[in-house]
């Protein structure tokens, strides 16, 4: 059992009591493979008999849809965006993560407050302001930061995934560069710098994500098995990785299809995946 500790003032109406679960954060910029690793970890943990809840940005019942609609319209102002994401986070913390932790689940979260802080700061928000808002966050049991060496490497990964460059992932709202590629590189560079800054502040466990998926997955399993006191670590098989990557590709394609209203090309992409 672990004592509940918050970065700032605890949420109103929350009972502060020790919880049996574990809160494990997978952080990193766009295209580092976070979702693949969350999926691989989930399968592995469940196979070992652990109950798992996975969550991630914009997946709240309260604000998920509103954020997606606002993003689609490209009409989200900078401050508005940060607060909408904070609403989404608070809803998931109160209604998904905390109840699951109390029930003894391992909560795997694809991004936590650090991505939100990095995005806000890169957009000119006061670093103290955004940290104070996220003072409501529970201090996780572990934060794995999947780090790549350069923004160019991320661009290559985004292309390889078949998703292509997205307006927000490319930071087009910042007006840094004229085209998606140049903007993506400039924006992701700024984010990488913010993540490096936060690394010491929040105690990230840095995982070199430039390595092959199998090696990254094995490193994550080793560290997590220590946290959950379960020494039965095995490396993922090539088949497991291939299957997971395929599933993630399909999921990304479905996501893209829902964004552009189910256009034929994206539906074809799903089929070919």
């Amino acid at each position: 059992m672990k004592e509940m500790k918050f970065y700032g003032t605890a949420l109103p109406g929350i009972e502060i009591e020790p919880y049996p679960g574990k809160l494990i954060v997978i952080e990193g910029t766009d295209g580092v493979g976070r979702s693949t690793h969350v999926a691989l970890l989930r399968t592995w943990l469940e196979a070992a008999g652990h109950a798992v809840l996975d969550t991630g940005m914009t997946r709240s019942i309260l604000a998920g849809r509103g954020i997606k609609d606002a993003r689609a319209g490209h009409t989200l102002g900078r401050l508005t965006m940060q607060l909408y994401y904070a609403t989404d986070f608070a809803d998931r913390l109160e209604n998904q993560m905390l109840p699951a932790l109390h029930a003894g689940f391992i909560v795997l979260t694809d991004r936590y407050i650090y991505s939100a802080i990095a995005r806000a700061v890169v957009r000119g928000a006061d670093p103290e302001w955004i940290r104070a808002i996220y003072g409501l966050a529970l201090v996780p049991d572990a934060i794995f930061y999947l780090r790549v060496r350069s923004a160019e490497e991320l661009a290559g990964r985004v292309l390889a995934s078949g998703r292509g460059f997205d307006y927000w992932e490319s930071g087009m709202d910042l007006g840094l560069q004229n085209d998606y590629y140049d903007s993506f590189i400039a924006y992701q560079k700024l984010l990488l710098r913010e993540f490096d800054r936060m690394s010491g502040e929040y105690g990230f466990e840095v995982v070199d994500a430039s390595r092959p998926v199998r090696r990254v997955a094995t490193a994550l399993r080793k560290s997590i098995s220590r946290i959950i006191d379960d020494e039965s670590v095995t490396a993922p098989t090539a088949e497991e990785i291939a299957k997971t990557e395929m599933r993630e590709k399909v999921r990304a394609a479905i996501g893209a299809a829902s964004k552009d209203g189910g256009k034929i090309e994206t539906l074809e992409k799903i089929k070919s995946a």
Binding site: P12, A90, D126
Partner: protein, 229 residues
């Protein structure tokens, strides 16, 4: 990001605050008519009016999805959108902006619901400090009588039913409004709110309001001046 008290815009921002039924919206509407007729360029901005957030708020209220924290944050999101879209641009252009409810509404309501005082204030740090913030103060029983006669039924969050203070809606509403009024009273000094006695005749209140507002008006805020720029 520019923090509260540090914005420097040529326009003017007048806001009205007070409990439900304090008469503030009536007063603001009268002020709007007057400023318009005097030839000023005036924009009106209401609490809870962001088109980006509207559907989310409506759904959350209907399905009762809010906790005090998410209630606070979603309203802050709404307010941020208004600030970025409807408040800062006209102020920069040198217009007059009138806001029905402002950050002090959030400070009063959210703290009444148990949110941390300092946290809520920090969340709204990006807000533009108003030229004048009027607080229409009406005793609890007066405000409650006005609401009871104006509205057939209290809504769930409006009555504070999410807080389990009382089983009865009217009882819960009274408790909630009492707490809100306490918070407002604390804020009078903290933020320098201009108190108007809401029990006075409507014309009397309006006269006081216009007298104060006129101190901050200048020829260059008139529509023709703003257009000429």
């Amino acid at each position: 990001m520019i923090s509260y008290g540090h914005h420097r815009y040529p326009g003017r921002l007048f806001v009205v605050e007070g409990t439900d039924g304090s008469g503030k919206s009536t007063q603001l509407a009268l002020l709007y008519q007057w400023l318009k007729s005097e030839g000023y360029s005036v924009f009106f901005s209401e609490w809870n009016s962001s088109p980006l957030v509207k559907d989310t708020t409506r759904r959350a209220k209907k399905r009762r999805l809010f906790t005090p924290t998410t209630f606070s944050l979603l309203h802050a999101t709404d307010f941020a959108d208004r600030t970025e879209r409807n408040i800062v641009p006209p102020l920069k252009a040198g217009a007059i902006v009138l806001a029905d409810r402002y950050i002090y509404t959030a400070f009063a309501r959210d703290v009444a619901r148990g949110c941390d005082r300092a946290w809520v204030r920090e969340t709204y740090k990006f807000a533009v400090k108003p030229t004048v913030a009027f607080f229409f103060r009406a005793p609890l029983d007066v405000a409650i009588d006005r609401i009871a006669s104006a509205r057939p039924q209290l809504k769930f969050y409006e009555a504070g039913m999410d807080m389990d203070w009382a089983d009865d809606e009217e009882e819960s509403f009274k408790i909630f409004q009492g707490k809100i009024l306490d918070e407002y009273d604390h804020m009078v000094n903290e933020f320098g709110l201009t108190v108007i006695d809401g029990t006075q005749a409507i014309q009397t209140q309006q006269r006081q309001m216009r007298e104060i507002v006129s101190r901050y008006l200048k020829e260059k805020l008139k529509e023709k001046a703003v257009l000429a720029k």
